[in-house]
């Protein structure tokens, strides 16, 4: 094996180990943080860098060891970056519903109840978007 081969192997291993560590830390965050909204931070966040590290490592591996371009990884990270905030947003919205409708208030986290948006309007989960505002979803 040539010197550059060893160097690339070291870089690839470091990236994969770093990525795996962040994925593990994100999962551990889901176990130990107190309530749903805090737990949401673990898997949506630490995993972005975790998966990113693993994917860059995989790209470099195919580039240096197999000698082929592998750009699928860029697509995986693109789709992840598009979908992760949306799934987090959906979970948060369901949680907002539960905050107001549950009889027991044991699901309220340490952050308490969310504040009202303003005097005139509430959050879109609780109130239909005002027509003629940018939150309106259809053109009427």
């Amino acid at each position: 094996m040539t010197g550059s081969g060893i160097l690339s192997d070291i870089v690839i291993s470091a990236l994969i180990v770093l990525g795996a560590s962040f994925a593990l830390i994100g999962s551990w965050g889901m176990v130990r943080l107190p309530t749903l909204m805090e737990r949401l931070h673990g898997p949506t966040k630490a995993t972005t860098l975790g998966l990113g590290g693993i994917l860059v490592g995989s790209m470099l591996y195919f580039q240096f060891n197999a000698g082929v371009w592998a750009l699928h990884e860029l697509l995986i990270s693109l789709f992840l970056f598009i979908t992760a905030p949306i799934s987090a947003n959906m979970i948060a919205k369901v949680h907002l519903h539960h905050l107001r409708t549950h009889a027991k208030q044991d699901i309220v986290g340490p952050a308490g109840q969310p504040p009202k948006a303003s005097q005139a309007s509430d959050w879109a989960t609780y109130e239909a978007p005002h027509p003629d505002s940018i939150a309106a979803t259809s053109e009427s």
Binding site: E38, G42, P85, P114, S118, A120, W123, E127
Partner: protein
């Protein structure tokens, strides 16, 4: 021209994504990519009624800044998860007043907040002028709001003129 290619940026992105999926640059692949890039925006046009004026150079700079922030903030969150006890954690709801005035800009803003660790955007207000954000550790919520507005919203206002 405007009716044929309603969203030039989206069309270019679709061609690039198609070529990346094929993982090869061939004439046939490029041709199919261009067909997809033209047809898909036309068929999905009802979902994209607006045509925001995007400053692409500022957009790329913004993307690099966000990627850098994701890397830095991941380490901060890792430290919080590993070493901070739950009773020392100060989670908070932030109600961020927004000056952005297009749905596209607000979507990118909310996505950025969700991707940069420590904050999840949870909801938009019914009037569209406020964003509800949950912060994992914000001892000073007002300072956090000011920081997010200065770092991301000010730049986004330049991207979406």
């Amino acid at each position: 021209m405007r009716r044929l290619i309603p969203h030039p940026g989206l069309s270019v992105l679709l061609v690039i994504v198609w070529l990346l999926m094929a993982n090869a640059i061939t004439v046939g692949g490029l041709l199919i990519g261009i067909i997809v890039g033209i047809l898909l925006p036309i068929f999905t046009a009802p979902f994209w009624p607006g045509r925001p004026d995007v400053n692409y150079r500022a957009g790329v700079a913004y993307l690099l800044l966000v990627l850098w922030d994701i890397i830095i903030a991941n380490f901060e969150i890792a430290v919080i998860i590993l070493f901070r006890r739950n009773r020392d954690l100060r989670p908070a709801w932030l109600s961020i007043p927004m000056e952005l005035d297009t749905p596209e800009a607000i979507t990118v803003f909310a996505g950025t907040i969700s991707l940069t660790p420590g904050t999840v955007s949870s909801d938009v207000s019914a009037c569209g002028n406020y964003l509800l954000v949950h912060a994992l550790h914000a001892p000073d919520p007002q300072a956090e709001i000011v920081r997010i507005k200065a770092r991301y919203e000010a730049r986004l206002k330049r991207v979406f003129k």
